[in-house]
């Protein structure tokens, strides 16, 4: 397999989970709620999904080699992510807390809670001291003919099934945001909540729902990373992809398709850097430098493109009915 193929295959495997997390962020932020909690939400979602998958295998809930735990674990991860997002929703919408602080606190809380619960559950339920839940690696698929096309064929080679799921979710959530009444209300809440309220739609309900959606999508994204990069759930899930998703959605101007492009850019940049280090036969300790590439790229791109960026006008604004 050529290096270019590997760059594309690994790049997509990173870019698509990043995208689904970023779409979650877009839903929250277009409704006017800053969501720095994506990192914590993806971690908690992955924890819930991984706990379910690990338990179902260890405790023989399904027949061996059944794929059902794998599919269901994504659903559980989505539920777990939105459950944790309830905290952010309550703090930001109901209690009118500072949204930045709420997000940061949720991230810290998520690391602590999942770390603690993982070791405790391992000891008390599964009877062995461990700080992770081991998972199977998600199966990879290759489409016979399409994969033979030069270069582009890599897109159809050794991809994870969840990448297809993410593309389907992309279409669904694009439709919801731009073509449904709920989507129109959501985007109005992030631009001028007073206008939405005057039109007889409850701002709080729209924003709370948006935050729950962001939790669910971040949870799914976290589960993807648990299956692909880690093959387990452990504290290593918190490697900053939630923040990278935020960078992608800002770079994508809070719009879904440009954010998709930003995620592809970040994914390919990282897999490209990994390949570069292999080709140059650099020491593995230097390999960690490759991790820097997407972040350095973010800094540079944001410095140059920020002036074209337009955040939702009411982003971070605590909505007060009586204010006019």
């Amino acid at each position: 397999m050529s290096g270019v193929n590997t760059i594309i295959i690994d790049g997509l495997a990173l870019a698509l989970p990043l995208l689904i997390i970023a779409i979650g962020g877009i839903f929250s932020e277009r409704s006017g709620i800053i969501n720095l909690a994506l990192e914590g939400l993806l971690g908690f979602g992955a924890f819930c999904g991984a706990l379910f998958a690990y338990a179902s295998v260890t405790l023989h809930w399904f027949s061996p080699h059944s794929m059902i735990p794998l599919y269901l674990s994504f659903l559980v991860a989505a539920l777990g992510g939105s459950l944790f997002a309830v905290i952010h929703g309550l703090l930001c919408v109901k209690f009118r807390a500072n949204q930045v602080i709420s997000g940061v606190v949720i991230n810290i809380l998520s690391v602590a809670v999942t770390g603690f619960l993982t070791s405790q559950i391992n000891v008390s339920v599964f009877g062995g001291p461990s700080s992770k839940f081991d998972l199977m690696t998600a199966p990879r698929l290759t489409i016979p003919l399409l994969s033979r096309i030069p270069v582009i064929g890599a897109i159809f080679t050794r991809f994870y099934a969840f990448e297809v799921m993410i593309l389907v979710l992309l279409a669904i959530f694009w439709f919801i945001l731009y073509r449904t009444r709920f989507g129109i209300h959501l985007r109005a809440a992030g631009d001028n909540p007073q206008a939405l309220d005057a039109a007889g739609v409850g701002v709080a309900r729209v924003r709370f729902t948006a935050v729950l959606i962001s939790g669910a999508l971040a949870g799914i994204g976290g589960m993807c990373f648990a299956y692909s990069i880690l093959s387990n759930f452990s504290a290593a899930i918190y490697m900053g992809y939630g923040y990278l998703a935020i960078a992608a959605l800002i770079f994508g101007n809070w719009k879904i398709m440009p954010t998709f492009a930003a995620c592809l850019l970040f994914g390919l940049a990282q897999s490209g850097a990994n390949q570069l280090i292999l080709w140059l036969k650099m020491d593995s300790s230097v390999g960690d430098l490759a991790m820097i590439v997407p972040y350095a790229l973010t800094l540079i791109l944001l410095a140059f493109f920020s002036k074209h960026n337009r955040a939702p006008r009411a982003l971070g604004e605590i909505y007060d009915k009586s204010k006019r």
Binding site: R179, T180, R181, H185, N192, A195, L196, A199, V201, R313
Partner: protein, 512 residues
């Protein structure tokens, strides 16, 4: 006129806010298909009354009848259900949405994709909007995005929003405040068309000329009371102006004749533009002498606040000159102006005048903290702040719960204003600028600030007062300058003008 024509009836409406009666026992009837105007100065209670009709406030006493039936309007949604809609002064539009999307917001038409999945279909909406805009001469492109549209077009979108919701009673709150003269003419035409089509129009304004042009009847409010309901056709603007300004009891303040000295402030041909590059004052010139109170009268938005800001150095000057004791300060920064001798009591005391989350003592020293005794070798001397603040609190009678260490936000508006006055007076500045210094204060605080202005004048200071309250201007001014639409149209000694005359100049009824 038979009772069946009455569409809105208000009976004995009273609304109190802490410290003020915004509407005091107001009863009136508005007829189907007329243009009914509310006139009155700022704070007369006209917006409050209409907010009650639109369900944003509940009256403390009184009842409302719509089409002869008593109703309880507890939210704007209920008002809309009764066919009442309102165009607010600040438009409620989503900026990155199209005209059509804004019009249907909240009642979007949904079609089912494949007979199953509901999605928003704007096509029928665009057709309805086009029909409505043709019918009333409201030219808009349904697919244009709001943020690309000028204010006058955004206003048309707000009107279309009401029409799309089939409103019968349309309330306009100061609709011409942000429009150019041509746009005003256009809007008034639309309002007439709406009336001719059977809609009932309620117009809130303080511009009498507009009332004269379009309204059928007019209610005049003053200090929360309904002064008169008049037929516009048979009343003169002059008559309406005198009723609007009212003949309130002017608080007695002992004041000796001014003994003006040298010129302190000399403003020459000042033109100021706002952030949209529109001239807000045009070629304004005047002089203030030592020992003189020069008061600028004018309706809100005549350019007087921008003028005061420019003299204080808060905004830039386009053309013209400002001389302070013969020294050109037109382009000087704020601190050199302060040190040279300008003190400034701004209109917005909470945003510009104070840092609310600082201690009272920090606010009292906020124009002198950088020099001795407050600062030595760049280190703040807290005990100097303490003793200075204690002294001012005593001398200016500032009421505060924990003395110098009171959090400024916790103080009442009147005492916050006293703190600003104390700080500014203590600067010993040659020129003192007071902008709306008594707005929203109780009678005791009002009198104390007015007396302070006269005391400072008697010490030989030049005082510039900007006020929307004619009473205040008549009570303290030695010289009155009247501004209308950005121009200083009249300057005369206070004892040579009557309150009515000043009112007429302010309304643009009388030109010199």
């Amino acid at each position: 006129m038979p009772d069946t024509d009455v569409i809105v009836e208000m009976r004995h409406i009273t609304k109190r806010f802490p410290g003020i009666v915004a509407n005091d026992d107001i009863s009136l009837q508005i007829r189907q298909g007329e243009i009914f105007a509310f006139a009155g100065e700022n704070g007369a209670g006209k917006s409050t009354l209409m907010s009650i009709l639109f369900g944003m406030y509940q009256p403390d006493e009184g009842e409302i009848l719509i089409r002869g039936r008593q109703v309880d309007i507890s939210s704007p949604n209920e008002a809309v259900a009764l066919g009442i809609s309102m165009v607010h002064q600040h438009f409620k539009l989503v900026h990155n949405y199209t005209v059509a999307e804004n019009i249907v917001l909240g009642i979007e038409p949904a079609t089912r994709l494949l007979g199953l999945i509901p999605y928003v279909n704007m096509r029928p909406v665009n057709k309805v909007i086009r029909e409505l805009s043709e019918r009333y001469g409201l030219e808009v492109d349904p697919s244009a995005v709001i943020e690309d549209l000028p204010v006058s077009t955004q206003q048309r979108v707000e009107i279309l929003k009401m029409l799309y919701r089939e409103a019968e009673i349309l309330i306009f709150d100061e609709p011409t405040a942000m429009l150019t003269p041509q746009e005003i003419t256009y809007l008034l035409d639309i309002i007439r068309k709406l009336r001719d089509d059977g809609k009932t129009i309620i117009l809130i304004t303080h511009k009498l000329e507009e009332i004269k042009q379009v309204a059928d009847r007019c209610a005049i409010l003053n200090h929360g009371k309904l002064i008169a309901t008049m037929d516009v056709a048979t009343s003169s603007t002059r008559d309406m102006a005198s009723k609007m300004v009212g003949r309130e009891v002017i608080f007695e303040i002992d004041k000796e004749l001014a003994r003006p000295g040298e010129v302190v402030l000399d403003v020459q041909g000042l033109t100021i533009e706002n952030e949209h590059h529109v001239d807000v004052t045009q070629d304004v010139s005047f002089k203030i002498h030592a020992g003189e109170i020069f008061a600028i009268a004018g309706v809100a938005g005549s350019g007087q606040v921008e003028l005061a800001d420019a003299i204080a150095g808060l905004s830039a000057v386009k053309t013209g000159k400002i001389l302070l004791e013969d020294c050109d300060i037109t382009h000087t920064l704020v601190r050199p102006r302060t040190l040279k001798g300008i003190s400034y009591i701004p209109e917005d005391r909470q945003d510009v005048g104070l840092i609310l989350d600082f201690l009272l003592e920090d606010n009292l020293a906020s124009k002198a903290y950088f020099r001795a005794p407050f600062s030595r070798r760049s280190i703040l001397q807290r005990n100097a702040f303490d003793s200075y603040a204690d002294d001012l609190i005593r001398r200016y009678d500032i009421r505060c719960s924990s003395g110098a260490l009171t959090m400024t936000r916790s103080m009442s508006g009147g005492n916050q204003q006293k703190a600003i006055v104390a700080r500014e007076v203590e600067q010993d500045a040659q020129l003192m600028i007071f902008v709306q210094p008594t707005r929203g204060l109780d009678i005791g605080a009002i009198l104390s600030i007015r007396r302070r202005m006269i005391e400072e004048r008697d010490k030989g200071r030049a005082i510039l007062l900007v006020s929307l309250e004619l009473d205040e201007i008549m009570a303290v001014a030695d010289t009155i300058g009247v501004m209308f639409a950005g121009r200083m149209i009249k300057i005369a000694p206070a004892d040579q003008m009557t309150l009515d005359e000043v009112g007429e100049y302010m309304m643009g009824v009388k030109q010199s």
